[in-house]
């Protein structure tokens, strides 16, 4: 398997004008969508956790190292970071780091399962513009949510949102990973978000982390993909998607957003031990660009790592470049292909034209994961998967969530006529 899709032999020059997407393909001086997973520790054990979180890693960045990294983000003018985990609030210095980031002009959007968003914490969060919160929920009813996220997690998310609303926080995010079981609940999710004055955010289930174990059983069925697409077209302006669903643009009208895999170009992940990956959904040695503890720090990894330089040129070859929908779909998600054992320059495993069906049915070698911090034994809120979840019996069932934001364009507004000159 090639690591990255076919690229031209000599690196093409960055165009000096033209659509932003062409610019983004060549990468930026600093990411615009940086996810920082603060800890692999989590009080939950969600079945689809993209980072296989559960237990704290003893090599976790210290408070001082975290602050130095925030200083570096400030120097690079990374205006905001998406903090996830694990459950970031589990870190004892979480609130201290939040304050430190805000003082250093690094805005924070953090993802949480809501258990620790007490009325007091909600007040604290509502007090600054620099902080946004994203509460994870994967079912509009406990019956759909709790088998994925764990017993009591539906109630905890509702409580957290009620606390945020009572504290006067507006436009925080209700973040939903779309699965086979909740596609029929999109209107209900919207109603829940509206009820709490939150904004609904829908993202794609990717076969990353423990998600690889359950993807086959949870990813939306082909007719549900169509339902989701139609719903997004009808409601597009009022929901965020983190640009997750651009592979669905191949149905016709392009969805709002950039429609580009931003991995290593405008997106990256810093994990709890300081490893830098191309994307939060690509935690694997193959997509490891470097570590923030090495000389030159994050700046050096972002600007000069061989992997990222490699990712920063347009794809020129592969089956998808022949597809009529390539401009809209661009072959879909690199991480989804990788973790399902498909070639990176071929179609997405959920290609809406059915072009990956044959490859999925054939021989595939799944790359597996190169790290796993899952709890070794059961946790308090252990999800009890429905029968539809198949699990290898030798695998411990234990999974937390970090809904994270791999979006190159989450919350972006492109200022239409600021687009113009040139």
């Amino acid at each position: 398997m090639t690591l990255v899709p076919a690229r031209p032999a000599t690196r093409p020059e960055r165009p000096s004008t033209g659509p932003l997407i062409d610019q983004f393909e060549f990468g930026l001086d600093a990411p615009i969508c940086l996810t920082w997973e603060l800890t692999y520790a989590c009080n939950l054990a969600c079945v689809h956790c993209l980072s296989s979180s559960g237990r704290r890693d003893p090599r976790e960045l210290t408070t001082e190292e975290c602050k130095a990294l925030i200083d570096e983000f400030e120097r690079m003018q990374i205006f905001y970071v998406n903090i996830g985990g694990g459950e970031p609030t589990v870190r004892p210095d979480f609130w201290e780091l939040l304050d430190y980031a805000v003082e250093h002009h690094v805005g924070v959007k953090f993802s949480t399962n809501g258990f620790r968003i007490t009325p007091e914490r909600a007040e604290q969060l509502a007090a600054t513009d620099y902080v946004d919160v994203q509460v994870s929920l994967d079912g509009a009813t406990p019956e759909v949510n709790d088998p994925i996220r764990g017993l009591g997690t539906y109630d905890a998310a509702m409580r957290a949102m009620a606390n945020l609303q009572a504290a006067g926080m507006t436009d925080f995010k209700l973040s939903v990973v779309c699965t086979r079981h909740n596609i029929g609940q999109l209107d209900e999710f919207k109603a829940i978000a509206d009820r709490y004055g939150a904004q609904l955010r829908l993202t794609r289930l990717r076969p990353s982390g423990r998600g690889a174990d359950v993807w086959q059983d949870l990813h939306p069925l082909p007719e549900q993909q169509r339902e989701l697409y139609d719903w997004l077209v009808a409601n597009g302006d009022r929901v965020l998607t983190g640009d997750s669903f651009f592979h669905l643009s191949a149905y016709g009208e392009a969805l709002p957003g950039l429609n580009l895999c931003g991995a290593g170009r405008v997106v990256c992940l810093v994990d709890p031990v300081g490893d830098v990956y191309a994307c939060p959904f690509a935690i694997h040695d193959q997509f490891l660009a470097g570590n923030v503890r090495s000389p030159g720090g994050f700046d050096e990894v972002w600007k000069h790592s061989a992997l990222f330089e490699d990712l920063r040129s347009p794809q020129t070859g592969g089956a998808c470049t022949q597809c009529s929908a390539f401009d809209a779909c661009r072959g879909g998600c690199m991480a989804a292909k990788f973790f399902t054992g498909l070639p990176l320059d071929g179609p997405d495993p959920e290609c809406v034209k059915g072009n990956s069906a044959a490859a999925l049915a054939g021989e595939r070698v799944l790359p597996g994961s190169s790290q796993d911090h899952s709890h070794a034994g059961p946790v308090r809120n252990q999800p009890v998967p429905l029968t539809l979840l198949t699990r290898r019996p030798d695998q411990p069932v234990a999974r937390p969530v970090s809904a994270c934001d791999a979006s190159p364009v989450a919350g972006l507004s492109a200022g239409p006529s600021a687009d113009r000159p040139g």
Partner: protein, 86 residues
């Protein structure tokens, strides 16, 4: 926006230079916008220290034929709250 008005970058907005121009981020609204040419960035940076918008356009050597489109771009930035009148 008129050439004789005086504007500046809003206090809550920061610019980050990029090869194509700049990113503009508003810490209050948490909105990210793009300035798609280096010259537009130059104009925006000059606004605060220029007597008026027209002076900033001239100083940034915006060709006469393009002044209307630059004014339109600045108007959009202003309507998004990135610029404020002074």
């Amino acid at each position: 926006m008129q050439e004789r008005e005086a504007w500046r970058l809003s206090g809550s907005v920061a610019l980050r230079p990029e090869p194509f121009g700049a990113l503009a981020y508003d810490f209050h609204t948490r909105r990210l916008s793009f300035l798609k040419t280096p010259r537009l960035v130059d104009v925006v940076r000059r606004l605060g220290d220029s007597n008026d918008v027209g002076t900033a356009l001239t100083a940034a050597e915006v060709p006469d034929a393009e002044r209307p489109s630059y004014l339109a771009a600045l108007t959009t930035l202003a309507s998004g709250g990135l610029l404020e009148e002074r």
